[in-house]
Amino acid sequence: MTAPVLPPRQIFWTRRRVKSLVVQAVFLGGLAWLFYFLFANTTANLQRQGIASGFGFLSQRAGFDVSLSFLPFTSDSSYGRAFWVAVVNALVLSALGIVLATVLGFGLGLARVSKNWLIARLATVYIEIFRNIPLLLQLFFWYFAILRQLPGPKESLVLADLVILNNRGLYMPRPQVDQSGWVIMVCFAAGLCMALVMTLRARQQRLKTGHGPKCWFWWPIGLFALPLTAYVLSGASLSFVIPELRGFNYRGGMLMLPEMLAALLGLGFYISAAIGEIVRSGIQGVDRGQVEAASALGLGRRDIMRLVVLPQAMRIIIPPLATQYLSLAKNTSLAAAIAFPEIISIVAGTTLTQTGQALEAITLAMLFYMSVSLSIAAVMNFLNYRVLRHGN
């Protein structure tokens, strides 16, 4: 038998709380010093080598053209404007890619758990192919598959004189309304809001009382009837600009560039394979008893999936889904390799070389990807929170 050993009296700076605080303060100080050192040293080095620095170049004339721009842009525009053109292009590609990947991915996920042998196997094959080939290769595949298979402008594939497909892109008629067109747009927006409000109200009532008014008819009224009435009453004229062959290429109409198409297909198919697996695991992660209970209540297979399984699966699906969306947004940078004018191509490529300001250009590009990633993460966290709290 030995006497119980008392813990030794702790000296002030060995206490855990104090110790961890000190360690953190030292670390933070070191980090701050490192950043200061990097910044000061870079500035000094650039200055001594006589290399221009700073963001003044953003207001200078860019002097180059881009093939795709949702903002007005000519070679007389500034580098700053070119940056925003690149931002919008990258965001549009990300948004379209996310929609495509999500729709395809949920379809694939459902197909993977399907009882139909053929559908389930096909989905498996699709997923294994697209998720196991590097994205860059897939982008090149789509790009050169599109370019090589499609004919030149003079031998275009033409559908009803309206839709034209050739190796310069996919041309479609562009709707055009005259001055009073804004009335129609306002009515459309108002109709959309109305339908949304009515649906939400009906939902709230249903949650409270168990019975809600029917509300589906507000959607056709809001989205079609209202704008159409406005169109007829305002006497606005709606016309379509139809692409026509002039000189070497088709002009007029809406154009989907091959770069855009290839980037969209590449990103969408690649990420959809990952989303498919996430959805499958989400569905399979829902307790078997839930399905059995639902079918004991007499729900059909569709209703079980829609009302019981998917809402619970969403809790499992959303966090990894957010990761896939982030990855898609960041992977748009690979589209630079197939000449899609996004951040890497315009900012970290042309702007960087023409101004020679590598650090600034790379910083801008990094800021962009970080903001986009953080925004997507914020939205998905909010969705996740809602799903956890409310179940849908």
């Binding site: 870079t42 080095n45 650039l46 070679s75 000449a339 970290a348 023409q354």
Partner: protein, 337 residues
């Protein structure tokens, strides 16, 4: 892109006194020259069947290495894209950029570079398919144009179409190979670049005979090796090595007759080759045989031209402006004395 990031990091992390003066000391210490070249342009810098870099730009680096290190093979090559090239030079990843690079005011000043003498007077041109029936650049309105991103070509073509009130749609790739592949696959009506580059890349197209160059030259593209601004000793060596090659052609010194010329040549020749009392070695910080070694490495300027670019090569370029001033060109070495 990776190279760009490491190079940027180098600028960020480098200590004081970094990569400014002392390029020569660094080279002597490590025993070879770091030479930035293209990612593959036949005639200028391209790996051969054995995997060795060859070409006109490569031989400039070899001449410098021969002058400085007495060994033309003491060169390591770094293939660089348009976007990477200047950062790689600024950060000290390469000592000399011998990479079909156009000398411009912006690059000379704001980018912190110094350009050695022009080794190739080039100009930007257009290539189209013969079947398109285009014969003049003024007929290019409404075309789709494939161009290399981050090049002077990209800016010139924008200026040219604006000045002539024409529209075009640019398709911009960072890698020259991809510009070529896209044009070859029919994405563009027109491929624009420096004329020499067009001639070089046409060689690797699926069917070179289907493509023609338009007669217009829309810009001046003086291609010159570049070094970092601020290291005058190194800049002098590169500058005068290029001049020595040109002077050798002016004086009729070739790789074959150099020993004989060294013994019996005129006073100018003797001074160039360092065989007379008044050698030039001390002035450039090397020994008196520096120019002899540079010329012996691959021959004089004309020999380099004939071997890589001239009529007997696949490129079949005419010397044009690159002839010596005595033959109707504008190449001209500053007096080596």
């Amino acid at each position: 892109m990776m190279k760009l990031l490491t190079a940027s990091t180098a600028i960020t992390l480098a200590g004081t006194g970094f990569a400014l003066a002392g390029t020569m000391d660094d080279i002597k210490a490590r025993g070879h020259i770091q030479c930035g070249v293209t990612q593959g342009v036949p005639g200028f810098s391209n790996p051969n069947d054995a995997g060795d870099w060859t070409g006109f730009d490569v031989d400039i680096c070899r001449a410098v290495a021969a002058a400085v290190l007495s060994d033309a093979d003491a060169v390591r090559y770094t293939p660089l894209s348009n976007t990477e090239r200047f950062t790689a030079l600024q950060s000290g990843e390469v000592d000399i950029l011998s990479r079909t690079t156009t000398r411009t005011l912006n690059r000379d000043t704001a980018l912190g570079l110094n350009f050695a003498p022009v080794v190739f007077y080039d100009g930007q041109g257009f290539m189209v398919r013969e079947s398109s029936g285009i014969t003049s650049a003024m007929e290019l309105d409404g075309t789709t144009v494939c161009v290399s991103a981050g090049s002077t070509s990209e800016l010139n073509v924008a200026d040219y179409f604006t000045a002539n009130n024409m529209t075009y749609e640019p398709v911009r790739f960072e890698k020259a190979d991809e510009v070529l592949a896209a044009y070859d696959a029919g994405r563009c009506d027109v491929y624009t670049s420096d004329l020499s580059g067009l001639a070089a890349r046409r060689l690797v197209m699926q069917n070179p005979a289907e493509h023609v160059m338009l007669k217009e030259t829309i810009s001046k593209e003086p291609l010159a090796p570049a070094v970092r601004h601020g290291d005058d000793a190194w800049f002098d060596i590169v500058t005068w090595t290029v001049y020595a090659l040109i002077a050798a052609e002016e004086l009729g010194v070739t790789a074959a007759n150099i020993d004989q010329m060294k013994a019996e040549g005129s006073p100018d020749v003797q001074r160039l080759l360092g065989s007379s009392e008044t050698g030039t070695g001390e002035w450039v910080g090397l020994d008196n045989d520096w120019a002899t070694r540079a010329i012996a490495a691959g021959g004089n300027y004309g020999e380099l031209w004939a071997r890589h670019l001239g009529p007997d090569t696949p490129l079949k370029l005419a010397r044009g402006l690159n002839e010596l001033y005595t033959n109707g060109g504008i190449q001209y070495a500053m007096p080596i004395k």
